[in-house]
Symmetry: C2
Subunit: 117 residues, 2 copies
Amino acid sequence: MVELDRCEINCIHDEAVKAVKEALFSEDIAISLAELFKALGDPTRVKILFSLMTRELCVCDLAAVIGASESAVSHQLKILRTLRLVKFRREGKIMFYSLDDDHIEKLFAQGLEHVTE
Amino acid sequence: MVELDRCEINCIHDEAVKAVKEALFSEDIAISLAELFKALGDPTRVKILFSLMTRELCVCDLAAVIGASESAVSHQLKILRTLRLVKFRREGKIMFYSLDDDHIEKLFAQGLEHVTE
DNA sequence: ATTATATATGAACATATGATCATATGAATA
DNA sequence: TATTCATATGATCATATGTTCATATATAAT
């Protein structure tokens, strides 16, 4: 608040701030977006999601593929489920997980472009 | 390790694990990808980046637009700079920040699709 | 019914993160 | 060159995060 006052007098470019503020999406959307990206922001979850891009897998297989404990994988799957990034179906004792939609593929493709360029 | 042994006997679908393991990218890439997404996984940084999609802005303007302290913005800009998500140019005392490439726009577009559907 | 198996969940712990405050830097101006 | 201003940085602290271990649940098999 105090800083805003000082700033308005000295440095702020008023029209720029006003214009950008109007274009800025809502707090809610910013938080949702951040939550989505945060879910993708962990190596274990990245590996889980990338593994599921090939085919559906059970928790045990996922753990073996990415080299993590089944408990750790299960915990991370819960986060991915909450954000509707993965879905699952039960077959007896086994839960098969798969990607919930194709957004992840596209996000990964974009992300890889940035990372590998 | 112990769990792997137990698992191999009981639950693992060997060919599936083998196939997916081969398709899986390297540990390094997984970590880089996670770092990129993690950088996008914070409301303050999301707002900064989205603001910069409209036009270049100085630290002071950014702080005013998103309603955060200039110090907080500066700290976050450092993270974004490290990951080559933003670039900057100096004009006297003022630093103007802008997006470093167009990947962020595409990532945001994809992310918004998921979040708002 | 009892046991085994696949997965889920809760508690605990170490580490990471983001904001704030104080201070430092670097450029313009008096 | 002394001061002011815009930004950067370091320290600190409260909170969040991810793993592990122990335990619970749900299904299948005996």
